[in-house]
């Protein structure tokens, strides 16, 4: 097995544990924003897409990379945007009602 694979596997397992422990603690109240936020974080694949498109190795790889840039960046922008929109709606009863 390549050593890169092993070091990635370490990271994957540790991140999986961290994710499990953190996500277990997220209130069910916020499960919808949780999904849209993790979606936006997952859109970090855009960095790989940028590299593939920008290296310009073959025409095919560039085109595929550019599609991936657009698709993942739309997730990044839209995901953060809608998560924040949803979270702004969550108010407690103690706060003053509408200004």
């Amino acid at each position: 097995m390549p050593s890169d694979f092993l070091s990635n596997l370490y990271v994957f397992i540790l991140a999986g544990f961290v994710g499990f422990e953190l996500i277990k603690r997220v209130s069910p109240l916020l499960h919808t924003p949780l999904m849209s936020l993790t979606n936006a974080l997952d859109a970090i694949v855009v960095i790989a897409a940028i590299i593939i498109a920008g290296r310009h190795e073959t025409r095919l790889s560039t085109i595929l990379g550019l599609i991936a840039v657009a698709a993942s960046f739309s997730n990044m922008v839209g995901g953060f945007f809608i998560t924040d929109r949803m979270l702004r709606m969550f108010k407690t009863g103690k706060q003053p009602k509408k200004p």
């Binding site: 097995m1 390549p2 890169d4 694979f5 990635n8 596997l9 990271v11 994957f12 999986g16 961290v18 994710g19 499990f20 953190l22 996500i23 997220v26 069910p28 916020l30 499960h31 919808t32 924003p33 949780l34 999904m35 849209s36 993790t38 936006a40 974080l41 997952d42 970090i44 694949v45 855009v46 960095i47 790989a48 940028i50 590299i51 593939i52 498109a53 920008g54 310009h56 073959t58 790889s61 595929l64 550019l66 599609i67 991936a68 840039v69 698709a71 993942s72 739309s74 997730n75 839209g78 995901g79 953060f80 929109r85 979270l87 709606m89 969550f90 108010k91 407690t92 009863g93 509408k98």
Partner: protein, 464 residues
């Protein structure tokens, strides 16, 4: 600048981004810190993107910038959809995420073909298969949620065998590619077969199971990104993918538990297609119905009211009327709380978002278990657009298709009121014995109109 130094700076930016991602999810755990979580997530994403754009390996920028602009132009409107449409937006974003992971994997294959190791080929093959099937599966799920495609499960004889053979076909092609990575004829066939499997996977699954399916696709999309991290040896992708994947996985488990179903049952069970049961019990059972005026009187006399909303409430666009009812009762000193079943709505947590949008304070939204310990002391349980999640047959009737599913024990409240259009059974077509109890009052009518009438009655008696 010295290229080695630039690379070190880029790598450092990625490490900071990784830490921020973890903090982002940590802070999302509570509504008081959640927006801070979004902010750090945004900073991390911006940092990583800027670092990547300064990579000296990039030789052209024009098309990348154009693609980023197209992405933003698609993403912003998708971030502005109505709260009822959030499930389909989410399914679509799983599709986009999986699409980009698959595209990058495919590009990596064609760039590397000829000098790929077998191990590298295995990683790419698996990554592209998961990415592709998640893409088409998510598109189908989004179509079902948007009601472009039929919501009911589409089934035929021998379906599971066909679907599993298609999956096996994709995996066999991947194995053949591992044996001979330069056999580039097989690669596009593998992609097409995986895409086909995604369609076959989600088409037979009915609307009632969508919360589980969305979570599962979430998990697949995350794991495909993590696998891409393995392919490209990028730790930040591995971490982000692992977080997203484990999040989707945990949510799927929660959804399955909330419906008392196993993964296999959701994937291969095609729930809600046969409704043969309960026809025998068709004796002349009577229901008691009540008018808005009577309902308002009972609610006003109560000291504790539990409202149980279901997706029917959102379909009828009744959230804002429900908020008015909440206000009117709270003003009279009635303690009003909302009992939220984990599968209320069409994705995990959806009902909370719908009620929060209607300005109902989130400390009034109570999880099922907490609500259940409180229902025996509750005067009135008012059910709006929910059915199966209140069905006491799930506790007692072993022959019921939903037997064992955790429910909100509304029948423990002193009085039960159910707003319902007619006596037609619900989504899953299962009869609800709750409606025939002596303490149950049926309020026949459209949810929005009926709640509006109750509010008017409450307001009317108040001004006298």
């Amino acid at each position: 600048m010295n290229p080695a130094l630039v690379q070190q700076l880029i790598d450092s930016a990625y490490i900071v981004a990784t830490v921020f991602f973890i903090l982002s999810i940590k802070w999302l755990s509570s509504p008081t810190t959640a927006r801070r979580g979004v902010l750090v997530g945004e900073i991390a994403a911006a940092l990583a993107v800027i670092a990547t754009l300064s990579n000296p390996e990039l030789t052209q920028y024009k098309w990348i910038v154009i693609s980023l602009i197209i992405g933003a132009a698609v993403g912003i409107p998708l971030g502005m959809v109505q709260m009822t449409a959030v499930p389909q937006r989410t399914a679509l974003s799983h599709a986009f995420g999986a699409l980009s992971a698959a595209m990058i994997g495919i590009a990596e294959y064609y760039v590397g073909v000829g000098h790929l190791t077998r191990f590298g080929m295995g990683e790419i093959g698996l990554e592209v298969i998961i990415g592709s099937l998640t893409f088409t599966g998510s598109v189908i799920a989004a179509g079902k949620l948007q009601e472009i495609l039929p919501q009911r499960p589409i089934v035929y004889k021998g379906q599971n065998i066909v679907s599993l053979s298609v999956l096996a076909g994709a995996l066999l092609l991947a194995v053949a590619l591992v044996v001979n990575p330069s056999n580039s004829v097989l690669f596009p066939i593998m992609v097409v077969v995986a895409l086909l499997f995604g369609v076959l996977l989600v088409t037979p699954i009915g609307g009632a199971d969508m919360p589980t399916v969305i979570s599962l696709l979430n998990s697949y999309a995350g794991f495909s990104a993590a696998l891409l991290g393995f392919v490209l040896n990028s730790k930040v992708l591995v971490v982000a993918g692992a977080l997203d994947g484990s999040s989707g996985f945990i949510l799927s488990v929660i959804m399955c538990k909330a419906m008392n179903r196993s993964f296999t049952n959701v994937m291969f069970g095609a729930f809600g297609q046969v409704q043969t049961s309960s026809a025998a019990a068709e004796e002349a059972r009577t229901v008691r119905s009540a008018s808005a005026e009577e309902a308002a009187g009972i609610l006003a006399a109560a000291s504790k009211v539990a409202i149980v909303p279901g997706y029917g409430m959102a379909v009828a666009q009744a959230q804002h009327k429900v908020r008015e009812l909440y206000d009117a009762l709270t003003k009279r000193g009635v303690d009003v709380r909302f009992g939220i079943h984990p599968v209320a709505g069409r994705m995990p947590g959806h009902m909370n978002v719908l009620l929060a949008e209607a300005d109902i304070p989130y400390d009034r939204l109570i999880e099922m278990d907490d609500m259940n310990s409180d229902l025996p002391q509750t005067d009135v349980a008012l059910i709006i657009g929910a059915n199966d999640v209140t069905n006491p047959a799930a506790r007692s009737d072993t022959s019921s298709p939903i037997y064992g599913m955790p429910i909100l024990d509304v029948d423990k409240a002193r009085t039960v009121m159910v707003i319902k259009r007619s006596m037609n059974p619900g989504f899953a077509g299962i009869d609800n014995p709750l409606y025939y109890f002596d303490k149950t009052l049926m309020l026949f009518g459209d949810a929005k109109g009926f709640v509006g009438d109750i509010v008017r009655e409450l307001g009317g008696t108040n001004s006298h």
